[in-house]
């Protein structure tokens, strides 16, 4: 698989042409919703002419189609925004472009990032890079697949409850959900504001670190961004890593558990002590997540009303009809399900019992993590209970689909950085990943650790 350094110092136009060729070659995976060919070639020519330079000069990349970016519509894989052309670009995209990187296309996702398989896309599911009968994972499925299939050396995604980590694991690439607030959310279609993070996929930890370092930092347009911390955190010194007990039960696929233990062995080789630890609040994390996240997204999706932009139902007679039909036609079933759950938990009389209660439990989860990080540098656990499942297998059972998020949502709720690192394939040849969760702002150290394991 290609690395960023493979593209540096070469003709940007050639890099972009090759990426576009490769993108067309893998069209059957339905990983990309659009190619930004014209703009990409124009920018590549400017890089070659020396007008644009930087640490990623001439390196092609792909963004998940919930990033506002020029050159193609920003659809969020929905009918609602099918024809929405962004008048501005996300801060993350702007920062990468400022370093000379060239966006060549926009990747498929579950519409509005609601889902864990990329099956909820209004434009059809993305197929798994290793097995076309299986899901790519999600919601950033397209970005994971284009990275795994060597279209580009890195791709951007968003992770609200596992949407980068799980598809990274399903397709055998590195993925990071950074500390909440590390990267500006400005210009990214919001899902759940308090857990949305901007991250990326790459083929190795070092490249991941470079891309993240460029994107990270305070942005005056996003009040929740943190001042830049990427390169100034103390290194891991406890030399102890906790293996989360709750994730190593029979509910988790045996091969997945074995791969996690294999990874633990490698960490031991690097001089880390591995101890089993308890993360007891984890059992409540799905319940918290599926209250807080739908609540926030029901609010964030209220703006899609057919009045100013986006899908507008034809021949409506009343305002209620305009809203009802535009939203009914523009949203997918999973969007509507979550909007309804969110509206319910926020409704008068239920707010305290659901939303506030979930927030209290969230604080307990955060406290439990905090305690663990006084003793351990990082926590090790699988990313998902199974490798990639069959397309359609879980589609009719939302609860089963939600349960697959059990190991990725705790870090999201706590705002902690978490990396998904590939750890080989199952007997069937399906990629499996492990997850390392670190303390607040320890993102770079997690990637360093993964990089060291890569070198073993």
């Amino acid at each position: 698989m290609s690395k960023i350094s493979d593209f540096i110092g070469k003709s940007a136009v050639e890099n972009v042409k090759e990426a576009l060729r490769r993108a067309r070659e893998i069209e059957e995976y339905n990983a990309l919703l659009s190619l930004t060919e014209e703009r990409a070639l124009e920018r590549a020519a400017r890089v070659d002419a020396g007008e644009i330079s930087g640490r990623l000069a001439g390196v092609p990349f792909v963004v998940k189609d919930n990033f506002l970016a020029f050159g193609a519509p920003t659809t969020a894989a929905s009918k609602m925004l099918e024809n929405f052309n962004a008048p501005l670009q996300a801060t993350a995209v702007e920062k990468l472009e400022a370093e000379g990187a060239i966006c060549i296309g926009k990747a498929n996702l579950d519409a509005f990032a609601h889902g864990g398989s990329t099956e909820n896309s209004a434009f059809g599911p993305t197929k798994n890079a290793a097995d076309e009968t299986r899901v790519a994972g999600g919601s950033s499925g397209g970005s994971a697949v284009v990275t795994a299939l060597d279209v580009v050396p890195f791709a951007l995604g968003t992770d609200t409850g596992g949407s980068i980590r799980q598809p990274a694991s399903f397709n055998g690439v590195v993925g990071i959900k950074p500390t909440y607030g590390a990267v500006s959310r400005y210009g990214v279609v919001a899902m759940a504001s308090s857990t949305d993070t901007i991250g990326c996929f790459a083929t190795n930890a070092e490249d991941t670190d470079l891309v993240m370092e460029i994107m990270a930092g305070r942005d005056d347009k996003d009040m929740t961004t943190l001042p830049d911390f990427w390169n100034n955190q103390p290194e891991f010194a406890k030399k102890k890593i906790g293996l989360v007990k709750q994730c190593m039960t029979d509910d988790v696929d045996a091969e997945v558990r074995q791969k996690t233990l294999d990874y633990a062995e490698k960490l031991k080789q690097l001089g880390y002590e591995i101890e089993e630890v308890d993360l007891s609040m984890m059992q409540h994390s799905l319940a918290m997540y599926y209250i807080i996240v739908p609540a926030e997204l029901s609010s964030n999706l209220a703006r899609y009303d057919g009045v100013r932009y986006g899908h507008r139902a034809a021949e409506v007679k009343t305002l209620a009809e305009l809203y009802g039909r535009s939203r009914n036609e523009g949203f997918m079933t999973e969007n509507k399900r979550r909007i309804m759950i969110g509206s319910f938990v926020l409704s008068s009389g239920f707010f305290d019992a659901y939303y506030m209660q979930a927030q209290k439990a969230r604080t307990l989860l955060i406290d439990e993590f905090k305690k663990l990080f006084t003793e351990y540098d990082a926590l090790l656990m699988p990313v998902a209970p199974t490798p990639a499942f069959k397309i359609g297998e879980n589609a009719s059972d939302p609860i089963k689909m939600y349960l697959a998020d059990i190991m990725t949502v705790p870090a999201s709720l706590a705002g902690l950085p978490a990396v998904s690192a590939p750890v080989g394939n199952s007997d069937e040849g399906l990629p499996i990943g492990v997850q390392l969760i670190g303390d607040y702002k320890s993102d770079k150290n997690l990637l360093k650790l993964v990089s060291e394991v890569e070198k073993i």
């Binding site: 347009k221 009040m223 609010s299 100013r308």
Partner: protein, 482 residues
């Protein structure tokens, strides 16, 4: 005794105050949309585009902190923003960003002066920050949306139901307006909707322990309409009760042409706003030091002016006129502090009569700032005091100063408005007049005891002095010489 005397009304008022910021509450869009093309003063953030995030306007927070001082309210050390959800085309995000659970301004009070000179204390429950919505105009078969006003920063001041008459309600909103303008919180332009009032009114038999069902009269934009709406609503509700019916809890509008309230929607249509803490905006944290620093910039407020002026024995109408213009009030006080009460009183009256043209009760303080030098005013006041100018001429000179002229003494000289109070100069004129044969008849009359006849002689002195002689001095000299 009328049936209305058996009832008492209870009034609580919510007031929306548009803050005098350059930009909107969460976006860099221009906050001054007066006379602007529809949708020309809007930003992607106010427009609710995907991926847009709010950036809290620090100046708006500062103005809220100032408002807190004017409301005698403590400021919350931690306040938060919440989302209030409802669907309407004037609300681009599908929610209004407001403060439901932790408002920035806590409980306080306003002391509103009543006609009889007493103060009515109205308690403030709290005041919170929020964004304004856009505007819809309805046409035949379609409606148009203008988002120029969307995102304009507001504070909503919520009073306790402490008022019991239309007069008290009017006094409260009028004082609130003065307070907000004086504290620099708002431009206070009522015509442009800078302050809007929602008035909650219920009536009950006097002495009843339970309040009646209330109606909310929305969107009043003048002190007079608040007063009239309260008067109208009191009668309407009493009439309903007297007929043995029940008042419906509802929202009503005010028809200014017909001077009546009209039903808009009843409580059954009440919406569930699904309030939720806004996860895009971190809590607003203010330390005591920061609050004190901001509030130290709040200039003197109307109540304190009234106190300082109490020694001047000014008419209430003069005080109200003065207070309707912060510049005039400020200058009057400066004169008082530098030169004493007599001068201040004169200046106060000059300002008050300069303001009589404007209707003070619905003052449109579009504060064209007045640049009269305080020292010039003091000089003019002292010249008047010493009878160097007549009071009529002083007024003329005052108007010149207001219009931008400087140096009243020089001005008076140029215009020949100075009174001659030099005894020898006047004595010479007096002699001249007394020796004039035309004066003989009057002199004879005076000597015969017809004292009124002196008026003719004084008039002649004034005439010969071209109006510059001090008339009382002239009279004194005539008497002495006769």
């Amino acid at each position: 005794m009328s049936v209305y005397d058996d009832y008492e009304m209870t009034i609580g008022i919510e007031c929306h105050v548009q803050l005098a910021t350059k930009t909107k509450l969460f976006s860099p869009a221009d906050n001054d949309a007066r006379d602007a093309e529809p949708n020309s003063k809007t930003h992607q953030i106010d427009f609710g585009l995907p991926g847009m995030l709010p950036v809290l306007n620090k100046h708006a927070v500062e103005l809220a902190v100032r408002a807190g001082k004017a409301l005698n309210s403590p400021i919350a050390h931690v306040s938060r923003f919440d989302r209030k959800h409802y669907f309407y085309p004037d609300l681009p995000k599908g929610y209004q960003t407001s403060q439901m659970y932790n408002p920035i301004i806590l409980a306080g009070y306003v002391d509103a002066p009543l006609e009889d000179g007493s103060l009515k204390r109205v308690r403030i429950d709290h005041a919170h920050m929020e964004e304004d919505a856009g505007k819809l105009t309805h046409h035949d078969g379609y409606s148009l949306v203008d988002l120029n006003r969307a995102g304009t920063p507001l504070i909503e001041i919520v009073s306790e139901p402490d008022m019991h008459s239309a007069e008290e309600a009017k006094a409260y909103v009028s004082e609130l307006h003065k307070l907000m303008v004086y504290a620099g919180v708002t431009y206070g332009n009522l015509y442009h909707g800078n302050m809007r009032f929602d008035v909650n009114i219920s009536v009950a038999k006097k002495g009843a322990t339970e309040l009646g069902k209330r109606a909310e009269i929305k969107n009043l934009n003048s002190f007079r309409s608040v007063e009239r709406a309260a008067e109208y609503e009191f009668k309407r509700q009493v009439d309903i009760l007297e007929r043995g019916e029940e008042v419906v809890q509802e929202t009503r509008g005010w028809n200014d042409d017909k001077q009546i309230t009209i039903s808009q929607r009843s409580k059954e249509d009440a919406q569930d706003y699904r309030y939720m803490p806004d996860p895009d905006i971190p809590p607003v944290v203010l330390t005591d030091e920061v609050i004190a620093e901001i509030q130290s910039k709040v200039p003197m407020l109307p109540g304190e002016y009234r106190e300082k002026w109490s020694a001047l024995n000014l008419d209430k109408s003069v005080i109200n006129s003065l207070l309707s213009n912060q510049d005039y009030a400020q200058i009057t006080l400066e004169v008082q502090e530098k030169s004493g009460e007599a001068s201040a009183k004169r200046v106060a009256h000059w300002f008050a009569s300069a303001l009589t043209a404007s209707d003070e009760s619905d003052a449109q303080t579009d504060n064209e700032s007045i640049r009269v030098a305080v020292d010039d005013l003091i000089e003019l006041a002292e010249m008047t005091e010493k009878s160097e100018v007549s009071s009529t001429n002083a007024k003329e000179l005052f108007n010149e100063l207001l219009a931008g002229a400087k140096n009243p003494r020089k001005l008076a000289e140029e215009k020949n408005l100075l009174q001659v109070s030099d005894e020898s100069a006047i004595a010479a004129i007096v002699d001249e007049v007394l020796n004039d044969p035309a004066s003989a008849a009057s002199i004879a009359d005076i000597k015969a005891g017809k004292d009124k006849a002196i008026g003719y002689l004084v008039g002649q002195v004034m005439k010969k002095s071209k109006g510059q002689a001090n008339p009382s001095l002239a009279q004194k000299l005539i008497r002495e010489k006769l």
